[in-house]
Symmetry: C2
Subunit: 308 residues, 2 copies
């Protein structure tokens, strides 16, 4: 079976000019194209946590597993280079599942010119887990870090937020090209991709930058799906609550100096809208204001992996 | 919990000169030290398949998860550079388990001067799965591949084989330094690390090299643990059967031109013995001979991940 699987991969994976040695050996060999630094990130996604395999086309799962990693590279303003893919499959139906996962992720890999450098495909009497490691290169501007936001910097986001569970968790576009364009054209002090939730990822950005942040809730771009979800669910959560807490939007959140933010917002250089939703503060903490000017503490809600 | 875990990692992980940006951001940034190619490999190990968490100190599990990957780099004659570690933990006791896994693998990482570049630590209602990706660099001799064995090349192995389940599956030494020394001093046509089993990995090496192989069973260095296991178990398997089929020896198996093999075996440049156990043939297939000269087909036994 393993040999058969390697044969499938070798037949199916498109050749890539930077891949000197692909799947089937003990390791892959990658040409680094003169880079002297490389960016590396890993995300492991699992059944019943990041998706429900029983309820979704496995090709969408495969796409998501790669897309969340591409979003991490976007958050560093890194150009994707190569992926290594490890998975453990349920024993029954594992082969078909593995093929479907690859069929789902390969179009995205091709679109981002990503070399599939190798992988490890296993099986067990347990649910699906997929771990993808991505390598990327940097532009001369270097990495976009979480820790560089300064008091007074505007909080600028791409796209809109909330209700990703309805559709966008599987269909979102990793903001790789957007991050590279913004990082090349404007001065960005810090950046993150919103995976856990707008409020909690803002808290991460502020904490890493040793500052605080005020979020102007009226300015938050609320996705149509956040409204749909609020209508559909019987709880008290408003569309704004969904926008602040749902997570898996995979939009960029940036810390931008005020003048640069003004220019960026006027120019709107992306296909997706850029919106200023608040600013970073010298005082540590997280607050929300609205058009009425009231200012209250913002308690970050969002996804956290629980283990104790 | 996630923030607390990141703090643990940042406090615990030793700094590394090549790590420009470590755990806690969206990705890590690694200095490549002038390398123009990099080697990348991934192995995912899971509870009940690669270890039984209920029966073994989790520090030994952590060590094994890293060591099998180092063994893959050894098989490429690659110098280890950095690791990224993804794991999904059972929810209950996950934190202590994660700490124990790291405490088990960190001494090995330090010994091989490996930068821990980042990771992804998750939890779920399922058993432990650990996926480690390693990056390595190459010497000027390039990678040691599986596909270069030629008819007439001797099959040379390090160490001894069989019974790894008793002890060595957790305690084996990845043959990184050994592979680099041999690759630097002798002409090696091909190499692999014996993970699935001596016979099946010989089949892999022969198949990738489009040739066959004859194994001289009397020459195979049988480990003491293979004898112990044969005595202990009630089945008919001999010590040699264990040596040929058990796997997880993580010794090197090399294809070496005859003159080079003679020199290498005479010089014995390693702390561990080098033994010639047969040769590659133009005719495809796998055979075994013994001192009596009888030649029969060798049916490769060994570990294969089953999924269908």
């Amino acid at each position: 079976m393993e040999r058969e699987w390697i044969r499938y991969l070798r037949d199916r994976l498109p050749p890539h000019p930077l891949l000197r040695l692909g799947p089937g050996d003990d390791a892959a060999v990658l040409q680094l194209a003169g880079a002297d630094q490389c960016v590396v990130t890993v995300d492991m996604l699992t059944d019943h946590v990041d998706f429900e395999l029983a309820e979704v086309d496995p090709r969408r799962v495969g796409r998501k597993c790669l897309a969340v990693n591409l979003s991490d590279l976007a958050a560093m303003a890194s150009r994707p280079l190569a992926a290594v893919i490890a998975m453990v499959l349920p024993r029954r139906g594992g082969k078909d599942l593995a093929v479907a996962l690859y069929e789902g992720l390969l179009p995205l890999a091709e679109r981002f010119d990503l070399a599939i450098a190798g992988g490890d495909t296993n099986s067990w009497d347990g649910p699906l887990a997929v771990s993808i490691t991505l390598l990327g290169t940097l532009t001369e501007r270097g990495p976009l870090r979480r820790g560089g936001a300064r008091p007074g910097d505007r909080i600028v986001v791409t796209g809109s937020f909330g209700g990703s569970i309805l559709r966008r968790q599987f269909e979102f576009e990793p903001r790789v090209a957007e991050a590279l364009l913004l990082h090349g054209r404007y001065r960005l002090d810090a950046g993150i991709d919103v995976s856990d939730g707008l409020a909690i990822d803002l808290a991460h950005l502020a904490e890493e930058s040793c500052c605080g942040a005020v979020l102007c809730t009226d300015a938050v771009p609320v996705a149509d799906d956040a409204r749909r979800l609020a209508e559909r669910r019987a709880d008290d959560a408003t569309p704004l609550d969904h926008a602040l807490g749902d997570g898996e939007d995979f939009e960029l959140m940036l810390a931008v100096p005020p003048d640069e933010a003004r220019r960026m917002l006027a120019e709107q250089p992306l296909d997706v809208p850029l919106t200023a939703i608040g600013e970073f503060t010298a005082e540590k903490g997280l607050w929300r204001t609205d058009a009425g000017g009231s200012r209250t503490e913002l308690v970050p809600r969002g996804w956290q992996h629980e283990f104790d």
